[in-house]
């Protein structure tokens, strides 16, 4: 959209600032939302003391986290230990660059947009592995190793389910994918892929019932057992930002992005549609977390390799055949 190199740079810088501000605020809001949702599911009110409806609670908690001492365990690999929390937050920020918030609200509408989001979200695992390894703690290492195995197992069906959408649109550009859902959302044309995506996305973001890497009842706190203060805070914020990204991608791939249902936008701006759908999906992910117990690690792997991957492969095959026939 830029008509020169200069405006392109300005656009990028403004975009980055907006992304940074938005991702932080959004993470704080999501933490609050999670606690509110959990509270109401569990017959208690959730945070309500600080600010209206307890909205400022997470900010206060964040300040508390910043004030905490940063402890590095003596046997830890110091450099890697310090880099890991930064490393975990970087890739989630990149994901924001290609998210289609509205028809004119994409920072960079790249032709490899879909690929970029998933390529970078995989980086997060590297940071988790680094953190778990550098802590030099058995629980942290177990958590990290599980996280890698889980992410590899769920990345495959996730990408395969996304591929069936990409096949239908014949493009990896987010704006084209959203535009082709004008009349009907892809969740109705690709229900299986949509379901697989949602399940795998939950696993990708290490959310319950797939929160094995940080299974607190077994592994104390998993990979971030040894992290204190804002280093822990970064892992925490990254998890919530990640949740936003997978929900946003799901919204654009399966739920029509900025489009209203069946082409009726009802005069509501696209960005509102987009955010509403994303937050509804996030709510569903939270709802699941507070309702289900945790799956065991081997069951989780079996579920991926024996159910999800064959199913997504079959779905891709059927999609390809149908597209060829039509």
């Amino acid at each position: 959209m830029g008509n020169g190199v200069g405006s392109e740079w300005i656009r990028l810088i403004v975009g980055l600032v907006v992304v940074l501000a938005f991702s932080q605020l959004n993470a704080l809001f999501l933490v609050w939302l999670e606690r509110k949702v959990a509270g109401h599911i569990q017959l208690r009110p959730g945070p309500k003391e600080v600010g209206p409806f307890g909205l400022l609670q997470t900010i206060v908690d964040g300040i508390k986290l910043v004030g905490k001492e940063l402890i590095t365990p003596r046997p830890a690999d110091r450099k890697l230990f310090m880099v890991a929390p930064v490393l975990v937050f970087m890739p989630v920020l990149v994901g924001f660059l290609v998210l289609p918030f509205g028809p004119d609200m994409i920072i960079r509408d790249m032709n490899i947009g879909v690929l970029l989001v998933f390529a970078f979200s995989t980086f997060g695992v590297l940071a988790i592995l680094a953190g778990g390894w550098a802590s030099n703690n058995k629980y942290a290492l177990l958590g990290a190793v599980r996280s890698v195995a889980q992410n590899i197992a769920y990345e495959i069906p996730l990408l395969l389910s996304v591929m069936s959408v990409v096949l239908m649109v014949n493009s990896m550009t987010f704006s084209q994918i959203v535009n082709s859902q004008q009349s009907i959302w892809f969740i109705f044309l690709q229900p299986v892929a949509g379901l697989i995506y949602l399940i795998c996305a939950t696993a990708e973001t290490n959310r319950a019932p797939f929160d094995i890497p940080e299974a607190e009842s077994e592994l104390v706190a998993g990979f971030h057992t040894e992290y204190t203060g804002m280093r822990f805070g970064l892992f925490f914020l990254a998890e919530y930002t990640n949740m936003f990204i997978v929900s946003a991608v799901a919204t654009s791939l399966f739920f029509g992005g900025w489009q209203g249902p069946f082409g009726f936008s009802l005069g509501i701006p696209g960005v509102v549609w987009f955010l509403v759908k994303t937050y509804v999906l996030i709510f569903v992910i939270m709802w699941v977390r507070w309702t289900f117990p945790r799956i065991r690690f081997d069951q989780l792997m079996n579920f991926s390799w024996k159910v999800m991957i064959p199913l997504s492969l079959a779905n891709l095959l059927v999609t390809a055949v149908v597209i060829k026939l039509i």
Binding site: Q42, L43, I212, A215, E216, S217, W290, R294, I295, Q299
Partner: protein
Amino acid sequence: MAEKFQEPVVDQIYTLNLGPQHPSTHGVLRVLLDLDGEFIVKADPVIGYGHRGHEKMGENRTYKQFMPNSSRMDYLSGMIYNHGYVLAVEKMAGIQVPERAQHIRVICSELNRISSHLLWFGTYVMDLGGFTPFLYAFDDRERILDILDRVSGSRLTYSYCRFGGVSRDVDVEFIEMTRAFVKRLRSRWSDYHNLVTKNIIFIHRTRDVGVITKEQASQYGVSGPNLRACGIGYDVRKAEPYENYDQFDFEIPIGEKGDALDRYKVRLEEMEQSCRIIEQALDKLPKGPVMAEKVPANVKPPKGDLYFAFESARGLTGYYLVSDGATTPYRLHIRVPSFGNLHVLVEVLKGTLMADAISILGSVDVVIPEIDR
């Protein structure tokens, strides 16, 4: 170098120190796990972190003075332990208890059993990663604590029973509250079943996990719901009825396989049976005094010894008292169910996954201070 990579990886067994400050070991249990990857090769429970010397204390205190200690060993079934201790001393000293007091004791003990099982239900599902049922169960448990608080003045360490009766009579409101609670708990079963029992993840995490065979159970002295889940229907309340348990109509639920799911089901069914006992006791509750007349201030049982067994929420519990005719016991020994229930795990945990270890540990419902006492 290249050749080295071709060599098969030698199995490396490492030790993981689970506890004593681990979030899921329920108190101060420490288990040394030898792990091969995530599989357990050897599990070695280390006990004794909560040792307070209750048995030795018993030798230096009069029978009455030991009363508060009795509810501090198994803090989750304090009322039942207290009840059992009082029964043992009464039997030794030949003290008769009025019928009303007997009924009240049974009601309170059964309420205590339900509260203990509810707490187990909540923490067990939390061990499996489900946080919400925990708060549901605690919400219900809170009502029991309110009821018991009303009669005994305490929420956890009751010391409500006295030699020859109970410390205070119950009033109409106690009866109403208890009836309301039983009604409420019954209406909650469907919530519990929908949230947990029918949950596919829960079933997969508990079915065929941590099977205790009948042989292992009798070898290690497993008792309580864990034993009944193996298919052995032994319950002291039925086998050797104490107090007036023989007057009530209730069943002993038993399992089939002895896995974690069976233990779960047995405990849930036991709560329902306890509700039945409470209802019958409330219906029959006779009028009259709640304390026997002429109970000496300092009980002096005749010379001799006595073993008295009763059923706590965790299983067969026993007091062994030796008296030399003085006001303090010569020896006071307590048989606790958690000891056998914990040590059978040395066999059961072998070859299971680390994730299952937590599930199995939770499913047998051990209270560590009771073992250490």
